[in-house]
Symmetry: C2
Subunit: 470 residues, 2 copies
Amino acid sequence: MNEAKILFEPNTVVLIGSSKIKQEVGMSSPRLFNNVTCNMRKFFKGTTFVLDVEGKEGYKLLENLPETPDLAVMMLPPDSSLQQAEECARNRVKAIVAITGGYNRQQRQRLTKLRGDYGIRILGPNTIMGVINTTNGLNTTFEKDLMPAKGDVSVIAQSGGVGACILDWACFHGIGISKFAFTGDKIDVDDVEILQYFSEDPETRVISLYLEGIGNGREFVQTAREIVKKKPILALKGGVTEEAAQRAVSHTASIAGSDAVFDAAFRKAGIIRLKDVEELLNATTALARQPPLEGDNVAIVSNVGGPAILAADAIIKNGLKLAQLSQETKRKVERRYLGVDAINPIDLIADARAERYSFVLDRVLSDTNVDGVMVINMLKSCFFEPEDARAVVEASKKHPDKPVVDVPGGGEDFSLVYKVLRGTNVPVYNLPEKAATVLRVLRAYSRIRATTRRKTSPKCANARGREKKE
Amino acid sequence: MNEAKILFEPNTVVLIGSSKIKQEVGMSSPRLFNNVTCNMRKFFKGTTFVLDVEGKEGYKLLENLPETPDLAVMMLPPDSSLQQAEECARNRVKAIVAITGGYNRQQRQRLTKLRGDYGIRILGPNTIMGVINTTNGLNTTFEKDLMPAKGDVSVIAQSGGVGACILDWACFHGIGISKFAFTGDKIDVDDVEILQYFSEDPETRVISLYLEGIGNGREFVQTAREIVKKKPILALKGGVTEEAAQRAVSHTASIAGSDAVFDAAFRKAGIIRLKDVEELLNATTALARQPPLEGDNVAIVSNVGGPAILAADAIIKNGLKLAQLSQETKRKVERRYLGVDAINPIDLIADARAERYSFVLDRVLSDTNVDGVMVINMLKSCFFEPEDARAVVEASKKHPDKPVVDVPGGGEDFSLVYKVLRGTNVPVYNLPEKAATVLRVLRAYSRIRATTRRKTSPKCANARGREKKE
């Protein structure tokens, strides 16, 4: 059994902190302790014990608890945390989430030794936010009342800050999360073990990573390469430039390594690399909701000319092609809508409403020359109404083998259409350039799946056919 | 006098459309006519006449109006528009904004001839949204009740759709606009003339362009090069790839030319080129609120480690440098805050509040090794509160010669801090990568100003010194 499982699926959890501590080192503070306690009591469906080492009730020994917890969440400064961790190990607690940072080398060694001596598993130290599992409500973050929507994306973040940024973005934009792990200094449980757990987890469909460094590169690459046959892995890497990498060493004590090495490792592993948190989450959402792009040919269906031209630029810059529509598609569209010139990008003209989008999208998605579609539906300067966007969802559902992404470009336009499409299978982006990046990622994953399946198991070569049955 | 002025500063405007027309060609429709009428009646401080060519009151001849309008806004299909345009020209109307598109070659020639025969100036045709001036309330867009906040950014957009996207973004994100021109097919008034008008306009401080093609490249470059000595010009170019450029020809009838040619022209003109609407508006906001970056050395002041590392990566990738803080700065910061390691990027630790930001920002901005600062203030995983962000504004005001940009990374965090900083001089971005791009643009404008001033007027060589007095 994968031992990382206990970090996400404990039955009983003990929160160990102090309500009185004054030294706020590495985040240990009464406020953090209190907030984590509130979150666990509010969300966690299992049993939560709270051990306040300086509370009014005095120092309650772990062994006085009615049962032995599976998991201990440690929120004390390094020395006190170590003392408690030793108690936990002796009492057969299975795993520790070490929230606090600031451990020196000797303190790290003492923590590592517990793993060797007792087999207790340790996440962290310096995880800052710990773990989230939206299924059982486990939530060791200290953001009061913060719980992402349940979904099929699982995340590993080495940095508390970047992880918090990803989490905040996901919550704000309604991206459904399954599991979230803040790994921090990774003295025991590492990316490989968590990846393996996510790989077997039926509630995880897409995996996203923020990394500054990896310990065991070879194992990481091998593990990822197996996983991407079934589930895409996306990564954002911090410490890309030499200057930043130096700083990363002191941040999470990881050897960052040269960026070229990482690039090669990601390529070999079949991990798709993104440039920032927004790209990472945009691509994650698309992979969670839409099929991979099985060819290079993209059609653009728009109610405005200029943004369609920017979209065409972006499609080409992302290594894709403008699909050549078949004569049949062209004839059918042009016969029905006078004034519409059905060459790609198709300008449906500013008065296009749901009916025109429905008909044209159905024709275009039926065209064998088309592998995927970017829809642009501006409201400003057009007659399109937010509700009309449901036509895009219908068309996409009718053609589940080809990805469809939607772009109501701008600020308010995006926000109005987003309200309609939120929770549907069609991902929405506020600029055509962002949608084009996402289509590149959907294409990349199609290629990765084909390559990894072909190389390692010949019978799975017809990746696309197989996928449909799954 | 610059004749483009009358397009933005008319005293009297006549709106010419039809309340009954059925053929919705090139956007002419009763709905559009009605919406433009509503907007003009609501916002315009001058006199508005409405000429409904098929209204209940019958065909009112232009000459029956109590006075001759300065500007006519044409919202009829090409043939009827032409007929009305001829009436306007004969009646000494000074200028026409031709909203409708769909003119064929012959119709264009007839329109152009009016300019020659009568001296009437024409914006468009195919401007779709026409013009906006937030000072006198002129607003010929057909988005009901849409009026951007008054500000010092002026925009020229060749495409109605991209212009609408820019306008929508500006309205939603509170970017103050002075003038907005949708230029469409540009048969008469072109970018050069509007640029010259913006150059002389005391209410315009930053100029942003969306272009697909330019007619008179040499004049455009010369004009821009003069303007950028005083005001920055930013541009987004559509039709960059050959495939999209072909499409642009049919879109706005402009010869797009090879992208390399444009790149060279922009460089020569001192125009800063951006990659998408978001970058364009992010950079525009920064240039409107902050001074140029007069050197390469950027300090990062953050309450989280990971995002600061991503910020450092982005600073380097944008051709800037991580500032080396002086020993004095380092000593003063470290003496006051135990545990803070004052090397750049400075990690203020997750419990930093306004007081710590104030002190450190003041020290860092006083450091002669630092030319500008990227502040990162996450809320999630930190103790920072949105109101604490006022400390950033105070520090920035105390050091007006060095640009400061702020990054509360994420979704909700960004939105909460944005509410506090909206309307201040500190621009806010949701990711460090976006802030780094903006700093690159602030650096680029400092270089452009130095170069153009030096080359053309030796006495202005000390550009920075001069600017302070202006």
